[in-house]
Amino acid sequence: MQIQGSVTFDAPPERVWELFNDPEALRRATPGCERLDKVGEDRYEAVMSVGVAAIKGTYKGTIEIRDKEPPHRYRLAIEGSGSPGFVNIDASMEFVPAGGGTQVNYSWDVQVGGPVAGVGQRVLGGVGRWLIGEFFKKMQAELRADAS
């Protein structure tokens, strides 16, 4: 499942890059992220309760920031598994100057497996898109909160 899009942040790439490398901000912005513990350079263990309404699953896994090219781009590698199955995400994020701000172009390759994949196909795409949208909204909020 491919989910692409772009979001603008009104801060220069350097600042946005910082934000997208701040574990605390990432934790707060990631929907359902309960824990995010640094276990190495750019490597985190996470516990996330992901889903919508009653259909939520708790996934344990790792988040890794790869192929860093500050402040231009990096890749997020997310691997999680839990009772509803597993989720593997390979997300490329690109930070492009746009006016005074930054346009973040993202392309998420989301792989879902196990029970939830076999039942949820009707809505997985839409829900995934929505969750990713929420993530970026919250990151924008993080930036604003920081600015104020």
């Binding site: 199955g85 196990g114 994949a117 076999g118 039942v119």
Partner: protein, 783 residues
């Protein structure tokens, strides 16, 4: 003359119990102290198992045992026994009871949890921690053949399990001499039988009697019995397998073995308590065998008058992760393709390909729908190319009634020559055209078009190999009460054997059908046999029943002759009596004869066996070939791609009919499954081998709103190969449906050059194709 039972639409003996909710299905078996098994299944299509930690699961409430591959005894650790070998099947890879270090399809069993209830077992199954190392999966059978493709079984260095070719005549010559040559590619997709009852196994071991009793929703209890005895190192008579009422089979319930079938009895012995496993519907989607996906590349050589000179069909058969059932499906596919037509030169070649998907084994039709789909698409293409009516093209290629037995020139699934025993194909075609009013169709179609409606007529013919060997047997026994007790080895999953076999006996012994009790699928009642598949039960077991009944009749006459002091020639069996012809007052009841045949004192004539009883076997020399034709009129809404079937007609020839009502019921059900497989039911895997359709919310079995009324006409061409002259009818309904379905839709849009090469279709695909073809109302295709 005595009442006739054979050939009559007689109400079923099995129904009163079923209607009262008193059937006995495997899940209805409840034993004191019974434990319940749930399985931990791989979420990955292909992965290495790094580590399994069962400690949390073992600690969970109500848990009695948690088993992984390492805990299995040696005899259950290896690959499970292959079912049907074949000389060209080089790599006969079979499934495991529990995955040994690697999983090869999503849903493969990794660990077994046994607990006091299924609820507790499922709770604990979630606590089994399995650490997987995911590997790239092979999902598409064509990609599986590309160099560098991941391998489902690394050790064999290829994804090709077998490569098999059969040739009739001189195909190259045919193509050289042809006026018209063309090529097509056809892609039937994957589906599943989905009986309303999932699979289930219950086992209990009696330590005192040292006997293992198993209730199994299988179509082949005797094979399972023999196989398990061998696997566990027991005598066959220590193992009793009962297939009680089975809630639909349609093929996948004749597997040997599903992991659960070896795990549950072993756990029952190991734990000393009865154990039950009932597959749930979600499991059924990936743990029960599937079928149907093939890719056919076919080349055709035709003369300009439409007669077919030669066909070269090279296809791939996706067998999934393992191939226990061997090559039956692709062999049947290539042997069914010629159908009722004369194909003097025919090259049939296939590769069986491993992929990281659920195992394939026969599902109702078992390759026949594929062969018919390809052949009937070819005929229509010829009609289009040469501007000859599609029915006329069929006529010009049909095998004629005086050409039987007709040797197709291939070797069939039973390793016997593919020789049609009898038939009248032009007769079938004529009846079919009458039933669907083909002569009035052009005018009607024009009228519809005037009204702006897109309505098409589709038709398809087929020949179906049925009643394959090797054999079945039956015992017929008359009780002192005069009631008759029949036992045979085949299992039954709704085919009405308790009635049709009773009719055969009633006909021979002159008793009422309701006085004949038929026991099927219990190795304790009859322990020789093969199983219920390939539309064979009525043919093979039915004739065994007839032979046994005739022996009983002969014996009854002999014994009664003494009692009545009459000669055998003067006696007849009727109304439950043996009586003197013309003097019905001189009679003894069959019960009295049974008593006399089994005296408690006195003597029995030398050579005679005690009791009014006989057991006989029937081994058909080869298959008997049923045939038929279906036609349908289908309307399409081009704006939505939704369809409505306005009429559905079937003409069917399965030799002599034992019970027309039952045969028609079989056809109705087959057609409904065919409609499902043509427009509704598809198993969808993503690029990683995840099955996306594991509920009835996404795998769409037709409801009463989607299945039309079905008109049926019969033709009876008896088979010369068996005493009853019968042929099989179990699969007939499903076989031609995809072919005629697509034909009807193409006909509805004739003039737009639409050609469908894939089934199932669906509203989305259909609307898309119509839009691309520029059909008004279908809209643009711009995304």
């Amino acid at each position: 003359m005595a009442t006739r039972y054979f050939g009559q639409p007689i109400k079923r003996n099995e129904d009163p119990r079923l209607l009262r909710g008193r059937g006995l299905y495997v899940d209805d078996v409840q034993l004191p102290g019974m434990l319940h098994m749930a399985l931990v299944r791989s979420p990955y299509a292909r992965a290495r198992i790094r580590r399994i930690d069962t400690s949390k699961a073992l600690a969970a409430p109500g848990v009695v045992a948690v088993i992984t591959h390492a805990d299995l005894p040696a005899n259950l650790q290896g690959p499970l026994p292959p079912l049907i070998p074949h000389p060209t099947l080089k790599h006969h890879k079979t499934q495991f009871a529990l995955a040994p270090g690697q999983v090869r399809h999503a849903g493969e069993a990794v660990a077994a949890v046994v607990a006091e209830s299924r609820y507790a077992a499922e709770d604990a199954a979630e606590l089994v921690e399995v650490e997987y190392e995911p590997l790239p999966a092979v999902v598409d059978m064509e990609k599986a053949l590309e160099p560098g493709s991941p391998l489902v079984h690394e050790d064999i260095g290829t994804n090709v399990a077998a490569h098999y070719t059969q040739v009739v005549g001189d195909v190259e010559k045919a193509f050289a001499e042809a006026d018209l040559v063309f090529e097509e590619v056809f892609r039937p997709d994957r589906g599943q039988a989905q009986p309303m009852e999932t699979r289930g196994v219950v086992a209990v071991y009696d330590r005192n009697l040292e006997t293992l009793t198993i209730w199994d929703s299988t179509q082949a209890p005797i094979r399972i019995r023999s196989g398990l005895a061998e696997l566990y190192g027991m005598r066959a008579n220590q193992v009793r397998v009962i297939a009680p009422n089975v809630g639909g089979g349609f093929g996948p319930k004749i597997m040997m073995f599903y992991p659960e079938e070896v795990l549950v009895p072993w756990l029952a012995m190991k734990l000393g308590r009865p154990v039950k496993y009932i597959e749930d519907r979600r499991e059924h989607f990936f743990a029960t065998n599937q079928e149907r996906d093939q890719v056919h590349r076919v080349q055709v050589a035709v003369r300009k008058d439409g007669t077919i000179l030669g066909i070269k069909d090279v296809f791939l058969y996706d067998t999934g992760a393992y191939i226990p059932y061997g090559l039956i499906i692709p062999i049947v596919a290539s042997c069914t393709l010629p159908g009722p037509y004369k194909i003097p030169n025919y090259h049939a070649e296939f590769k069986a390909v491993f992929t990281n998907k659920t195992i394939c084994s026969p599902y109702r039709g078992a390759g026949r729908p594929h062969g018919v789909f390809v052949m009937e698409r070819i005929i229509n293409r010829i009609a289009e190319e040469l501007g000859i009516d599609r029915v006329e093209v069929r006529r010009r290629n049909l095998i004629q009634p005086d050409e039987f037995p007709y040797d197709v020139g291939l070797i069939y699934q039973d390793n016997a020559p593919l020789r049609y025993d009898s038939g009248n194909y032009p007769g079938l075609l004529d009846k079919l055209l009458k039933l669907i009013e083909y002569d009035q169709w052009p005018a009607r179609k024009e009228q519809y078009r005037k009204e702006g409606r897109y309505v098409g007529l589709g038709l398809a013919l087929y020949v179906e190999g049925t009643g394959v060997g090797p054999y079945e047997g039956a015992r017929v026994h008359v009780e002192p009460s005069g009631k008759v007790w029949v036992a045979t080895g085949v299992g039954t999953q709704g085919q009405s054997h308790q009635t049709t076999f009773a009719q055969i006996v009633a006909e021979e012994l002159g008793v009422r059908v309701e006085d004949v009790e038929v026991v099927t699928g219990d190795t304790g009642a009859f322990h020789w046999g093969t199983g219920t598949f390939a539309s064979r039960a009525a043919v093979v077991a039915g004739n065994a029943v007839a032979l046994a009944a005739r022996d009983v009749k002969a014996k009854a006459l002999e014994v009664a002759a003494n009692l009545l002091e009459a000669s055998v020639e003067d006696l007849e069996l009727a109304d439950g009596q043996v009586r003197v012809k013309g003097a019905p007052q001189r009679a003894v009841s069959l019960g009295q004869v049974a008593v006399a045949a089994n005296p408690l004192r006195g003597t029995i004539p030398p050579g005679q066996e005690p009791g009014l009883e006989a057991a006989r076997y029937f081994n058909p020399p080869q298959s008997a070939f049923s045939a038929g034709g279906h036609a349908a009129i289908i309307e399409v809404d081009p704006a939505t791609g939704m369809i409505k079937i306005l009429k559905y007609a079937v003409v069917h020839d399965c030799g002599r009919l034992i019970n027309p009502m039952v045969v028609e019921g079989q056809i109705h059900g087959g057609v409904a499954q065919g409609i499902g497989g043509s427009f509704y039911e598809r198993l969808v895997f993503d690029e990683n081998g995840q099955l996306l359709t594991t509920t009835f919310m996404d795998f769409l079995i037709p409801t009463a709103m989607e299945v039309p009324d079905i008109v049926i006409d019969h033709q009876e061409t008896p088979s010369p190969l068996n005493p009853l002259g019968v042929k099989g009818a179990g699969e007939a309904g499903v076989i031609p449906v995809p072919a005629l379905f697509v034909d009807a839709i193409e006909d509805a849009f004739s003039g737009y050059g639409l050609r469908f090469r894939e089934v199932p279709l669906d509203p989305n695909r259909l609307r898309q194709a119509l839009a691309e073809a520029g059909v008004p109302g279908a809209g643009s295709t711009a995304a």
